[in-house]
């Protein structure tokens, strides 16, 4: 297939490059999108899809290259340009006003007015036109958004983008919070918009969505376009290979098998809090990585909180053969159960303190010595050095500020801080959220190594490739209940997804 020269298509992205803090996230990216077609922009997390989307919606300016739109050439777009050119964007995170009505959300910032007053009649009519005629969604325009379900909110977000755009619509992972029927309705709407001569850029990494919708595919990896073509040119396997690239090895790496006689480290019997978690039972062996999958809000983090006593509930927990009754974070730590939560990582980096202090923070009672309990700096340094080595923390020097470390290394330092206490069971909640591909791979290596050394891991992750790469078994939670336990061989993305979103195997 020979793509149009970028000047001729509705949208032509020509050699666009962008770096953040010296790290290139987009390099020499070129592609086109034309009216009446759906372009699938696919790539892994961190491939640069979101940066590209932000450039096209005018939120950030590229460092190099140009954007051609409807015969004009722009070095950068502003949000006002995007607005004027009729480019609508649906961001992954909803940008709605919960306190306002659906109609107001669709129309802001330009509310129709008559004689200086808001023209409610027109607002209502236009909202109905978009919601019902274009999207086929039965949502009342005057309902406050706070009363809508997530799927309905997503529809409102889409309605808002359609209302503002006239030529190009960019959808960034729009199905992440949709149920299966809602997803089908969205696909209908997208196809209908294509037939209305919209150009559509659809960002995703769900394979089945790619082949259900695509007219053309462009693949991004590590900030570069690494392939493209029609779905027929690019069967799924070829696409996967392009997408994953050097990380293909990761997918095929099998974690060290759990010994048959590995002792049970954690046994959970009918754990629940009556609200978010119901009758969760499982057991976890030494050296095993057990994945806990589910939509957010399914109760995954709540299970972790119940286990360490941050949340109160009923159920029996047995830790290394002994009942764990009086559950509290402090007791959990003493008994060798640590939780490294998402918040903990974000909140626990002392950015303007030395790497040494960050690494030793959980070890202070051990490092402190003498009758007065004073810190022994040399012992602290030794411990920190040891930890940096064990947990692969690259640092410019132990006395450097934590701030000098890359995000991935900060993350490893904090996970390492807790692993140093040689826990029996370690619960990791979203361990690689927001880190780049390299740091993610490093973190995976760390987890595998520690598991091989006998630590039992409960891994909570929304990142399915991560789950499939690491876990020996995967439990799927749906509305606080375990609806499936999949072995490594059974744990395929579509099966986990179906279980997580419907509670059943489809």
């Amino acid at each position: 297939m020979t793509p149009d020269p970028p000047e001729r298509a509705l949208l032509g992205v020509a050699s666009v490059g962008k770096s953040f803090a010296g790290i290139p996230v987009l390099q020499d990216v070129s592609f086109t999108a034309d009216r009446g077609e759906i372009l699938m922009l696919v790539g892994e997390n961190g491939a640069g899809k979101s940066t590209l989307k932000n450039i096209l919606s005018g939120l950030i300016a590229p460092d190099s290259g140009a954007v051609h739109f409807a015969g004009r050439t722009l070095a950068a777009l502003s949000p006002a340009d995007a607005d004027r050119l009729g480019i609508g964007t649906i961001h992954q995170e909803l940008s709605l006003f919960e306190n306002l009505s659906v109609a107001e959300n669709i129309h802001l910032p330009r509310l129709p007015q008559r004689f200086g007053r808001v023209d409610r009649k027109r607002m209502e009519a236009q909202s109905r036109a978009v919601l019902q005629d274009r999207l086929g969604a039965a949502i009342d325009p005057w309902t406050p958004v706070e009363e809508l379900s997530l799927g309905e909110r997503q529809m409102v977000e889409i309605a808002k983008a359609i209302h503002r755009s006239s030529s190009l619509l960019i959808l960034d992972e729009p199905t992440t919070c949709l149920s299966l029927p809602e997803r089908a309705r969205l696909f209908d709407a997208v196809r209908r918009l294509r037939d209305h001569r919209y150009a559509i850029i659809y960002i995703t990494h769900f394979m089945e969505e790619v082949y259900e919708l695509a007219d053309r595919i462009t693949v991004l990896r590590d900030g570069r376009v690494v392939g493209g073509g029609t779905p027929r040119d690019m069967p799924q396997e070829a696409l996967m290979r392009r997408m994953v690239g050097r990380d293909l090895a990761e997918l095929t790496t099998v974690p060290a098998a759990v010994a048959d006689d590995a002792p049970v480290m954690l046994e959970v019997d009918r754990l629940g809090d009556g609200v978010a978690v119901h009758e969760v039972s499982f057991c976890l062996h030494a050296g095993e990585i057990l994945g806990l999958a589910g939509l957010m809000g399914a109760g995954r983090s709540e299970v972790a909180e119940l286990l360490v006593g941050l949340r109160h509930g009923e159920g029996r927990v047995t830790l290394a053969g002994r009942a764990f009754v009086e559950r509290s974070p402090r007791m959990a730590l003493e008994r060798g159960l640590v939780l490294v939560s998402e918040d903990r990582r974000r909140d626990q980096a002392f950015l303007n303190r030395a790497v040494r202090e960050n690494l030793s923070a959980a070890m202070l009672p051990v490092v402190a010595s003498g009758p007065l309990g004073l810190l022994a700096l040399d012992r602290e340094r030794q411990a920190a050095e040891q930890a940096a080595m064990t947990f692969h923390v690259d640092h410019p020097g132990l006395e450097a500020f934590m701030l000098a470390l890359s995000g991935g290394n900060q993350q490893k330092a904090i996970v390492g801080r807790w692993l140093q206490r040689a826990p029996r069971v370690c619960i990791l909640d979203e361990p690689t959220k927001g880190v780049d591909i390299g740091a993610r791979a490093e973190m995976h290596r760390l987890i595998r190594e520690q598991a091989a050394a006998g630590v039992a891991f409960l891994l909570i992750s929304s990142d399915l490739p991560e789950m499939m790469a690491l876990a020996h078994r995967v439990l799927v939670l749906h509305k606080g209940r375990i609806v499936g336990a999949l072995s490594r061989a059974e744990a395929e993305a579509h099966r986990i997804l179906a279980l997580a979103s419907t509670g059943r195997v489809s």
Binding site: D83, F97, P109, V118, M296
Partner: protein, 334 residues
């Protein structure tokens, strides 16, 4: 949910409970003091409530946009000091400073300018409004005291006209307060700018992504608050005939209490102008009644503090209820 437009400035349960409390308090004071239900006293309550109410109208806009203006009382003080500086003459022999009609435009322009400065400072410094207006509170008050040499200045002439004028036996400031409240209500619920202000208060992040000009909208809110501060100052000076160093002292406390008690959420995005009016009236009634029954003056502060805590707790509780109702955004990346 029925298909009807529902205003955000809604008359909800909060308003009815305020009406009930106001009635209860009034009956209580009337039984404790025979002077409370006196027609003169009721007129007086309305007049006393006017500056609080006007200040609270401006503050409602600021809080609806998820801001706060601690400097409103200091603006009342400095705007009046500037008005005297620009339109007051002090003859050697006379005891009082003579004023011209120019005090009104000067005070109003000063209020608008000082409020705008608050918004600009918050926008430029990117600090929380709590901190910036705490700074300007001290700054404005200091400047005001510097101009008036921290002394009592007796005034006469047109500056007194507004605060003392009456219409059908009721003080003109009362009408002004009602007018301001109606204007504020129309602004918030009927105009596009008002809706946008509520949007910014509801979700500042969404506001940016939607292309709302957040900074300009904040200027509108804070300028309105400054304007209301200056008008409240004019009323207070008109009533006592003196510009004193204490002018506007503690006004922010009463006004913020009134706004939150009235049902406007400190978390932004929800405002009740009618509630603001009722709560201002309630707070004034309590002040007035306690004076009449001869309560210890220090008890006022205790009562006001307790009321503020109750109002803030109710606000936080209802915000918590809302956040529990609203679903968490799920995500599952494959």
């Amino acid at each position: 949910m029925s298909g009807r437009w529902r205003p955000l400035t809604r008359v909800g349960a909060q308003v009815w409970s305020l009406v009930a409390v106001l009635a209860l308090v009034s009956v209580g004071f009337a039984s404790l003091s025979d002077r409370f239900a006196d027609l003169d006293n009721l007129r007086n309550v309305l007049l006393q409530a006017a500056p609080t109410m006007i200040g609270a109208v401006g503050m409602t806009l600021v809080i609806a946009a998820r801001g706060i203006d601690l400097s409103i009382g200091a603006i009342a003080n400095l705007a009046l000091a500037l008005a005297l500086l620009g339109a007051g003459t002090r003859s050697e022999a006379a005891l009082a400073t003579d004023t011209t009609w120019l005090v009104y435009p000067i005070a109003i322009a000063s209020g608008l300018a000082l409020g705008t400065l608050n918004a600009v400072a918050t926008n430029v410094l990117r600090l929380s409004a709590l901190i910036t207006t705490l700074g300007t509170l001290t700054l404005y008050r200091g400047l005001g005291l510097h101009i008036t040499a921290a002394g009592l200045i007796a005034v006469r002439g047109p500056i007194l006209a507004f605060g003392r004028a009456q219409l059908w036996g009721i003080g003109v400031p009362v009408f002004a307060a009602v007018l301001m409240a109606v204007a504020g209500w129309v602004f918030l619920s009927e105009t596009p700018t008002g809706r946008r202000l509520l949007a910014v208060g509801g979700s500042p992040r969404s506001a940016v992504e939607t292309g709302l000009r957040t900074e300009r909208l904040l200027v509108v809110a804070y300028a309105a608050s400054g304007l209301c501060g200056a008008i409240a100052g004019l009323i207070l000076v008109g009533r006592v005939g003196v510009v004193n160093p204490d002018l506007g002292y503690g006004m922010e406390f009463t006004v913020i209490t009134a706004v939150v008690l009235g049902g406007t959420s400190l978390f932004g995005g929800r405002a009740s102008m009618f509630g603001t009016v009722l709560a201002s009236l309630l707070l004034t009634t309590i002040d007035n009644g306690m004076t009449l029954i001869g309560a210890d003056p220090y008890a006022y502060d205790v009562v006001r503090g307790v009321i503020l805590l109750i109002a803030v707790s109710a606000d936080a509780a209802s915000a918590h209820m809302r956040s529990r109702r609203s679903p968490v955004i799920p995500e599952l990346r494959a």
